[in-house]
Assembly symmetry: D2
Homo-oligomer: 322 residues x 4
């Protein structure tokens, strides 16, 4: 479903080429300072415009339509809308019957029996991450003094991000990347032993971000190659501070007061200009597809602020449950 959370509950809606995308945040405590300006920094970080991101330009101005009065949250649901303005749907008309490999086009057509909005990926569009970022801005205010920071570690296997994007653009290719995320000042005791472990809830949200295909907490896959004596984080003081942080700040599903740390893999953008093989949904016959629409060469570039947002959303819910 398009709703997530137990107390801090978010619902997202909208399509790439519909009227708006938006989010409703239910369960935000009253009295939180909230103005439209507060959203601009994070929205700008998500925005396209850098090399390697789509040339589609949207103002991305948030409109708060409920739940805020005199610049403070009221305790009622907060709905935030983003109008879609710079729409060039005809770029996508060729795609109606030609599902893009790697995209959700094919499954959307089948699952929704031909009724899904195919323009620009419809409801599957990365444009929906606007809603996540907006909810993240609210969540970050609730989770203070926690600080959440995400970083691009590499794109296309290359630590020189700018160079890697240039090369990809030259080849008419796309590339993926690895992004990490650290949350500091974490209270001890968030999360539950089963089903709502911190890893469970963060990964649930992280895999709602389009293009994420892997996540590892702390030492992650490397842990599988370590000995217990190496991997165990020695507890060095009463607050629970550990010498190492192979656990990524989480034991038994519960925060131990050390930093939460995790990494994600972002796949290369599915839309590329190179010709690809697909199937025509009307004729059932194979066909070559060259994608002409605007798209990101490296979607990983936009991921950090979205990753921070979903981490903040997860932590806000844990803190309000606690």
């Amino acid at each position: 479903m398009n709703t997530f959370g137990r107390i801090f509950k978010i619902s997202i809606f909208g399509e790439s080429h519909g009227k708006s995308v938006g989010v409703t945040i239910d369960g935000c405590p009253p009295g939180i300072d909230l103005r439209e300006n507060d959203f601009l920094d994070d929205l700008a970080r998500r925005k396209s415009g850098a090399k390697g991101t789509t040339p589609r330009k949207e103002k991305d101005l948030p409109e708060i339509i409920s739940g805020v009065f005199n610049d403070k949250s009221t305790g009622a649901p907060i709905t935030i809308l983003f109008k879609n303005e710079n729409i060039r749907s005809k770029d996508y008309s060729q795609l109606k019957n030609l599902p893009r490999p790697g995209h959700a086009d094919f499954v959307a057509f089948k699952k929704y029996k031909g009724f899904s909005d195919y323009r620009g990926g419809g409801h599957f569009s990365a444009r929906l991450t606007l809603a996540l970022v907006a909810a993240g801005v609210v969540a970050k205010k609730i989770t203070e003094p926690i600080i959440i920071h995400a970083n691009i570690l590499e794109v296309g296997g290359n630590k020189d991000v700018i160079k890697a994007v240039d090369i990809a653009l030259e080849k008419q290719e796309s590339i993926g990347g690895i992004v990490d995320c650290t949350a500091t000042n974490i209270p001890l005791g968030l999360g539950e032993p089963f089903f709502d472990s911190v890893e469970s809830v963060i990964s649930h949200l992280v895999f709602s971000i389009p293009a994420i295909k892997a996540i590892e907490f702390g030492a992650g896959f490397l842990a599988a190659k370590m000995h217990g004596s190496e991997h165990n984080d020695e507890i060095i003081d009463e607050s629970g501070k550990t010498k190492t942080n192979n656990a990524g700040g989480i034991n038994g599903g519960i925060t131990n007061g050390n930093d939460i740390y995790f990494k994600v893999a972002v796949k290369p953008t599915s839309s590329i200009s190179l010709a690809q093989q697909t199937i025509n949904l009307q004729t059932g016959k194979p066909e070559k597809l060259e994608i002409k629409g605007r798209h990101d060469a490296c979607i990983a570039l936009r991921v950090p602020v979205i990753l921070e947002a979903v981490t903040a959303i997860a932590l806000a819910d844990f803190m309000l449950v606690k």
Copy 2:
């Protein structure tokens, strides 16, 4: 919370050294053939006894106490209990004040204000995975003809599993491992674009299994180093069959009809016999800890059947929602 699922809903309960562990399965359709014998194979696969697994011996006989009548599910909640019989709680009395590094002891003590059952890890014990395996047996019946199979790929970085365990035991060490899972005969269209993506729900459940610290779907972390033209899976026929399966059978959060494929990292067992540094919860002072209780050298050996179980649970819910 200890409840998961929308239609096929499971609730687990119990402690390592309490009376029983168990599971309630709500939302199982009526008329499913279900006898206590049906559980034995998967329970045996999970059981300790192999080299590298704890010498604690439990019969692990399931007792179905509700929801089944004349060997068929009735549609009412199914509760299955496992008695704890071979309990040696005094092994753990030394641990009351000495939280084991890498374990949940410290966070459990703090989160539950000193009231948690510390014996054998209490509710955090891997013994709770009995409940997951039992629910998985029911789920597998519902998800027929899907076939789910999990495999140990390596332990301690070594593909020769037996040898790696022998070496670890000799060193009084523990080791982790990597396990993969494949689900075939998957119907197209399971899952939701946001929040309940197939990756979201599977990872949510997977991170409820103690000791799992990472998951990757399809090409996973490798995807971050690939070009779009390599990573995109070409659609080769009308059913959606793709030439490669870098997506792990999931596009935009939704099954595309190809095999679901993912890998997880299992950390080395936290309990080791070697001396480790910790803090005394009463005195607040550092202390050396040598763990004497029974424990697994390589918990990854037991993971495959549990991984299959949670995958079946996730798929059963998706299929009943659909």
Copy 3:
């Protein structure tokens, strides 16, 4: 929370004097015919304008901003907005510190620590029922061929509704009423024995409608005075048709295929022009309050279409779960 439902899930938001009120409907199947015109009949039935209803005039035009493409639902969340246009907030400035007896003003002020939007009742306003009616229109399409019809039985204890309202207006008073609701063509087997009994879910939604204070199914309170032999509905054919319908179409929480029938009590509108005693929230002192804003003399007049809507919402969810 402001979200309800398992598969057909609705979230409502907005305030009386904010920018908009609205609803997001998640879980609507694809391919349902849906145009803005479809909403007008039910919205008109809810609208003010009749004698006894508030003179506040709003166009109440629904704007579908997501989830519909080419006049069909896509399967993605449907968000519908209603702009607030005819706002006279200064009518309410006197009320900032003077909670109206019978209203939520006092509890809203306390619960939300003074941050709630007090204008026109804010999020507690009956204007939010617009969102319920809109969701009901969608739900009615899903529940076809079920027919749901609600009726005013009496207002102010009087079956002559027009006359009763005239008398109340003359006295500067308000009056309540009794409304019943019948749903026909009900499939057998909706609902669950515990917690999600049909009575549980319908009553849950019904008590979300402002001003409803009682509900009875079938014979209701009268059942308490009957003998078993009178109350039991004899089963007269294989389809489960019964001779009488004292059960209101529900046995053991589950629809039995006969009509669902229930009645609700609507309290008199709390806002009246007569002077009333209250307490000043700033000074803590008692004060007389004469309410000058626009308000309904008999809110029960608007209840039928809202009651139909929530019944349709409940049934749509049951049918999609089934």
Copy 4:
């Protein structure tokens, strides 16, 4: 589903003539004093034995199988079992094909496709209310210092309860009744304006109790006949105390600090010894049915403690959410 609650979450399971009935309580805070003895008083109040209640005798001894350690809740899920011992299933064999009018037999047979456990009403049995009462005992401890008290107001339309039952028994009839419930020392601000109004949540749980067919809060149905000036409760001091309590302690879905007050109607027990008309499920033909099993003449006699229990469950959840 058989699970209810947001933070204080209960799941019930079991059948009348299966091995056990039970409940799992998730979300109980750690450190609550809890022994098996604590349950005995409320369980005794629910028990059969009085005139007018079934002669089936069960010990109804609670067995706590998880979540309690050293007589304190641990924070982990608490599961409580009640063994079924005094089972006379052959009393019910005649009923296999003859659904009792007023009972769930017919809908259970149809909904669960013939697989439901028909013995003693199976999962629909009033025996499941044992689970509710047990959960209520835990909830009452959490909601201290709230005091909840339910009372039989009348049975069969008669305030002389003993006499009314005698008359009914003589006639081989059953009778219903009216029970009220008052909760005092209520904190202001519990509940939500929509969907989780206090009335919504209490009524949701109340209609999970078998045989309840109506509920009214405060003045209830009488409110429909009152004027606003009569019905509005004047606020007389800063704490929100009101002169009257027509609202039943709830405004806009939220507790106002005054007593919560509601009444319910209990229908006459469906099982009666008099011959009744029904349909044979195998032959589809009409048949006369005389019910011989043990049953209550007046189920309302057992309702007070169950009503208190569900009220406590609702309030515990509201308090933990808050």
